[in-house]
Structure formats: C-alpha cells, structure tokens
Amino acid sequence: MAHDAAHDHGHDHHDHGPGPWTRIFTTTNHKDIGSMYLWFAFFMFFVGGAMALVLRAELFVPGLQVVQPEIFNSLTTVHALVMIFGAVMPAFVGFANWLIPMQIGAADMAFPRMNNWSFWIMIPAALLLFGSFLVPGGAAASGWTLYPPLVTQGGIGTDMTIFAIHLLGASSIMGSINIITTILNLRAPGMTLMRMPLFCWTWLITAYLLIATMPVLAGAVTMLLTDRHFGTSFFNAAGGGDPTMFMHIFWFFGHPEVYILILPAFGIVSQIIPAFARKPLFGYASMVYATASIAILSFIVWGHHMFTVGMPAAGNLFFMFATMLIAVPTGVKIFNWIATMWRGSLTFETPMLFCIGFLCMFTLGGFSGLVLSIAAVDITLHNTYYVVAHFHYVLFPGAIWGLTAAVYFWLPKFTGKMYDETLGKWHFWISAIAFNITFFPQHFLGLAGMPRRIPDYALQFTEWNTISTVGAFLLGFSQLIFLWNVVKTIRSGEKAKDKQWEGADSVEWTHLPSPVPYHTFETVPNLKLAAPAH
C-alpha cells in the first residue's frame, strides 16, 4: 500500500486534469468533496457565530441598542438554522466523506456524482437563506422551530426559508443514502461491521436517522407552505386543524435531529480518546449498541419539547420517562470513555484536550437535560435561558468540540502537515473558559425566569447577561485562533508523520501515508489481519 501511495503522490498534480475551478464544480473525489463540505461548514460557523455575537451585543445591557426586535428575531432564527444545517451537519458530512472510505478500505464513496450534488445543493439553499434578509419583511423570525401560527404570518423570507429547508433536506437524504450504501456495501475483506471504527458506526446510525426524519420535516414545512398560500387548515383550529399538530410533526423530526448533531461526535471522541490513552476503546460492542439504542429511543421522546402545550398527563408522563431512559445508553458511553482512559498512558495533545472538554461539558449538558426532562420542573423552565444553556452545553462542547478535536486529530493526515500545538492549546483553554463564562450564567438567568428569544429584559438580569456577552465575544475571538491555526498548518506546518499519533489504530493511520494520496485504494486492500481487534 505504501508503494501505491508513494507512486500516487508523485503524480498528484497532473492526476486530475481540469483546472482548480472546473475541479471544484465537477469533482467526484471523496476527499475534494469532503474538503468542500468542511470549508463550507467553517464559513457558515463564522457567519452563524457573528449572528450570535450581534444577539449577545444586544443583550449586553437592558434596552434596545444594537438591532430592532424584528432583526433580533430573524437573527435568532437564522443563527440556529445556519449552525445546525450549515455548520454542524455539513462538517460531519465532510469528515464522513474524508474518513469513511479510508477507514473501511474503499476507493471512494458509493455514488461519487451524487456525492458532489449533495454538496452543491447546499449552495442554493444558503443563497435562499441569506437572501431572505434582503426581501421585504426580512428573514423568517419565528425561531428555527417555525411554529405556526406566527410563521403563517411571516413574509417572503419565510417561504425562502421553507425552500432552503427543502433543499438542505434533499442534500442530507442523498448524503445519507451515499454513506449507508458505502458502509454496507464497500467494506474491504476483513472489515466486518463489528470491527469498523466507531466513527463509521455512529455515521451509519446517523444516516438512518436522517433518512427517517428529513422527509418528515419536508412534510411539515410543506404543510406550512400550503397553510400560508393555498388555504389548507392543517395548523388552523378554525378549520379543524391544530397548531400543536405542527409541533408534534416537527419534533418527530427535531428530536432525532439533535442526535444527528451529536452521534458522529460520539464516534470521533470514541476514536480519539483511545489514541491518546494508548489503549483500545473500552466496551466497543456496548458503544455500538448504546448508539443504536439512543437512535431508537430518539423517535419516542419528542413530546418533551412540548410539556407546556397541554398534552394529556399520560402523554407527559410517557415522554418524561422515555426521555430519562436515554440517560442509560448515554451513561454507558460516558462510562466507557472514562474507562478507556483509566490506567491509560495518557498524553494531552490538543485533540485529546478537546475530547476531555467534551466529556466534562457534554455531561453537564446531559444533566441539565435530565432536569428539563422532568415534566413538572419543565413547566417553569420551558422557554427560559435554562433551555438555552442546556442545549448550548450539549451542542458547543458536544458537536463543535467533537468537530474541533477531529480537525486537529486528522489535519496531519489530510494535509501531511502538523498544526501548531501551542496555538491549539491556547485555542482549547480560551474556548473552554470563554464557553463557561458565556453559558454557565444562563442557567442562573433561566432559573430566575428570564425568557429566551427576546431582545430586552428586566433589570435584575443585567449582571449575568453582561458577563455572558463578555464570554461570548471571547469565545468568538478564540475561534479566530482556530482559523489561524488551520490556515497556518496548511501553508507552513511542519511535516507530519504517516502515523502521527502512536495510539491511533484505524486504517487511515496504519495503512496510508500523510498526506493521503488523491486516490486512496486503487485495488481492494486486504484488511483481514490488519483491522484492529477491539
């Protein structure tokens, strides 16, 4: 394999005839497409982050200073949509593109042309989403959950958002079909399902969740569209419908969606922690089963987003207990990660730091989730800043730090160059401190009763809001270190070793040089002996 790779590396530059622009538009290479996904996601991460900073600037002190309430609401809505559909999901798909074919010993994704299409569909979606700020009435201002009847009253921007969601959904479904097919059908001999790296497993299950729920979201927003323009009464009580019906359909999608945002990060962490503990992952099989259990349970807990809408008590109780049940497989995972580190030969390079940060902070977010799952308690916490604190604790240190760890971990493999360890450590520590300054006080604000999604607040909330805003700007600044570190690595990083991390045991580290050649495997590799035994 090393021979093939060296051979390939030699003619890397004239291997793919067309110029760089033609290549971007027409490529069918999983690494090209993976990079496009990752850069798109990185860009959207900064755009979405800038929106969040406008929100935090407005909330620095009480009163209206920076933006009008309408713009504030639009920014709240589009910040969420951009971060979920524009940053986190495409970034995970980017890593899936880069890693899955290499980790299972395939030459490329199963459907290379459709792969490129699922990337390029996101561009018109992004144009519609951002373009909606420019039309009369502005962007959708209903929150990313798009609840009627408020959303029924929105302007053209709401329609643009609905079509953007349709396009992003089509992109996700195509990407997921590609990933599932690749994993199920293109594994090299020896790479059995239960020997696959956890990143492949978590993505297989994530892709299943996407295919099962994205069409439901498409149905829900289609009903919004016909209620808005064609006189249907799905969500209108006067016509026999019910706005609550939208919430049910939306959260049937929405709750699996939050696992879509975290499961691939679980996979990333499950590969990075063993590498730096220099021990195999503890409880590999239980990790797989726990991931599958979380995915199945995710379909029967959606009502915990709706404890205050007046469901029957039996419904509230069912959703409460089903939600608490999810803590069991999640607890298995946390236990396994800690047990992997137990008596390991630990070192704390940047990817490991982000994984440990993930473990601590994500667990805190899980605990506040348990608090919210108690239906009786949720009555007072619903739609307060406690919820905002909760889901940012699971999404920022969960999804974003998982992705950040992945960038630092695999950048040497992708680029053949090593990132700046000092800058990486600065990035981690400033992020970790700034994140907690930003979001920990929001628990207090929520418990004190501050509602979310408002541009102004009562005076007693001032101190913690001010502190939160200071933290948010520090957090935003620390991501510039990240960007700088990535750019610096690509431009002038030191040469990375083929097996940069001595504890890494998946195929891309054990079988392939750094950087990996443009075409990874031109013949089917035999992984019968080489695959790591878990």
């Binding site: 033609t22 290549r23 027409t26 069918t28 395939a106 030459a107 490329d108 290379p112 042309r113 299409w117 990337f119 390029w120 569909i121 561009i123 018109p124 519609l128 053209i156 329609d159 079509f163 953007a164 349709h166 396009l167 079909i177 590609n178 599932i180 097919t181 199920l184 059908n185 293109l186 295919i211 099962a212 994205m214 069409p215 439901v216 149905g219 829900a220 009903m223 016909t226 808005r228 323009h229 064609f230 006189g231 249907t232 009464s233 799905f234 209108n236 009580a237 006067a238 016509g239 026999g240 419908g241 019910d242 019906m245 359909i249 049937f252 075409h519 495997f521 031109e522 013949t523 089917v524």
Partner: protein, 288 residues
C-alpha cells in the same frame, strides 16, 4: 471512467451535479416568487429551473445508462444501487408518514378536542364529527361539502393499480426469461393502467370541486384529502414517467436477463406507490 483491476469503478468528473443545483436554485426561487405574486419573473424563473432540470435529468441519466450498457457496472455496484433505492423508498415512506400522521392526529385528537368541554364556549354547537371542515368553516354554508364515495372511482382505481402491479411483475418475469415481446407488451400495459388511473384521478378532482364542493380549502378534511391523494398522484405521475423511460429502453433493447436493476428499481417504486394507495383507500376513502 474505468474499472480498475481490483474491481473498483471510478466515476469521471461530471458537470451534472452543478447543473442540477442551478436548476433547483431557479426552481425554488421561482416557486417563492410565484407564491408571492411576483410576476412574470417568478414564472420565468420556475420555467427556467424546470427546463434546466429536464436537461440535467436527460444528461445525467444518459451518462448512467451509457455506462451501464457498456458493461462498466459490476456486481458490487448493482448491490449499491439496490441499497440506495431501498433507502430512497424508505425516505418516501417517511414523507407520506408525515401526512398520514396529520390525518390521524386531526381525526383522533384535534377535531374531538375542538368539540369537548374546554372549547364549548368558543365553538358553540360544534359537533366535532369527521368529516369536518372545522368549527368555523362548518358554520358557513358556503363551505358545506360532501365526501368522495369509496366504491366508485376510488375502488376502480384500486383495481387498476393492483392490476398494474401484476402486469409489471409479469413483465419482469418475461425480462428474466428473455421474452422481449412479452416484456414490452406487459410493460406497456402497466404504463396504460397508470395513465388511466391518473385520468380518473383528474376526473375525480373535477367532480369533487364542481359537484361535491370538496376543495383544498375545505378545512382539515379537504387539506388532508387533497394533500394525501395529490402527493400520491404526483408520485404515480413520476412512476409512470419512469416506467415510460424503461419501456423505451426495453424497445431499444436495453437490459439483460441478469442485469436490469434500472427496471427493478422502477418496479419497486411502482409497488411502493401501490401500497401507499392501499393506505389511502382505507383511511381516506373507506373509513370516512
């Protein structure tokens, strides 16, 4: 494009994905403008998007058909296509599940709740009986509607679709037995049955609008009735177009007894719209 010695198939660079995205951009923008009465730009954008989409479909499928007929596709790719078509159909099932879910939710929860004690003061005298256009619209004589009987056209349509499921299976067996004339005959019959189904559906809609006063705007009954049967009809249309393409390919001599997943994929899709129809027939027409 090449099939490497180890059996891997490498797709060459392709312009079609970007062409398709361009089409979707104009199509989606056109829809937004059309719905908000921004004309004629909306219509032009919609038409342009549609035209580019057609161009893309011809181009992209043309490439795939050419590659397949040149023998570039091996067994492994055939299995990939089978997995992907199965998961695509599963996604379609979930799309219909959203609309069936809306129907069940309205019938089991929202309509009975609108007639219960909590709402007695707001909607006085509302019977909350399915079929209904809701408490407000039911009180307005202009919105009074009759439902579509199940045992007229819908029952005939059920028979038509079930028969088409049989004919497409006969065609498939003929393809495996390399009986080309039988294949083409029964595939043609399948297309005809699909087309008759659609024609009757159009007639049924006209009947609903002109005689029954049953419209998309007839409250939650009209909403679920037309959205469910409408999306189903749209899928039958797509399926019939796909069957027609396969029919032309059969006439041109494409497919071999042991290599014809293009045919099977469309047959799977056709069975899927058939099953959805059975659900519609029971829950939308019979159990009113």
């Amino acid at each position: 494009m090449s099939t490497a010695p180890g059996g891997y198939y490498f797709a060459p660079p392709s312009k079609w994905p970007v062409v398709g995205s361009t089409a979707l951009f104009f199509f989606a923008s056109g829809m937004v403008m059309w719905m908000n009465d921004i004309q004629p730009v909306g219509f032009l954008s919609l038409a342009l998007g549609f035209a580019i989409l057609i161009y893309m479909l011809f181009g992209w499928f043309g490439v795939v058909i050419h590659e397949s007929e040149s023998g570039l596709y091996n067994k492994q790719l055939d299995v990939s296509y089978r997995w992907s078509m199965s998961w695509f159909i599963f996604s379609e099932v979930m799309f219909f599940a959203a609309f069936f879910g809306a129907l069940f939710y309205a019938r089991v929860f929202s309509v009975p709740w609108l007639g219960d004690f909590d709402n007695a003061l707001i909607w006085q005298g509302y019977g909350a009986k399915w079929p209904t256009a809701g408490p407000y619209l039911d009180a307005n004589a202009d919105y009074a509607f009759k439902t579509m009987g199940a045992w007229g056209i819908p029952a005939i349509n059920t028979l038509l679709l079930l028969a088409s499921g049989v004919t497409v299976t006969i065609a498939h067996h003929a393809l495996i037995a390399n009986n080309r004339s039988r294949l083409i005959l029964f595939l043609f019959l399948t297309v005809v049955l699909g087309a008759v189904f659609l024609a009757l559906q159009v007639y049924e809609y006209a009947h609903a609008y002109s005689d029954l006063n049953l419209k998309l705007t007839s409250g939650v009954f009209g909403s679920t009735f037309f959205m469910l049967t409408g999306f189903h009809g749209f899928h039958v249309t797509l399926g019939a177009i796909m069957l027609t393409v396969i029919l032309f390919r059969c006439i041109k001599g494409h497919f071999k007894p042991d290599h014809h997943f293009g045919f099977e994929a469309v047959a799977w899709y056709w069975h899927f719209v058939d099953v959805v129809w059975l659900g519609l027939f029971i829950f939308v027409y019979v159990l009113v």
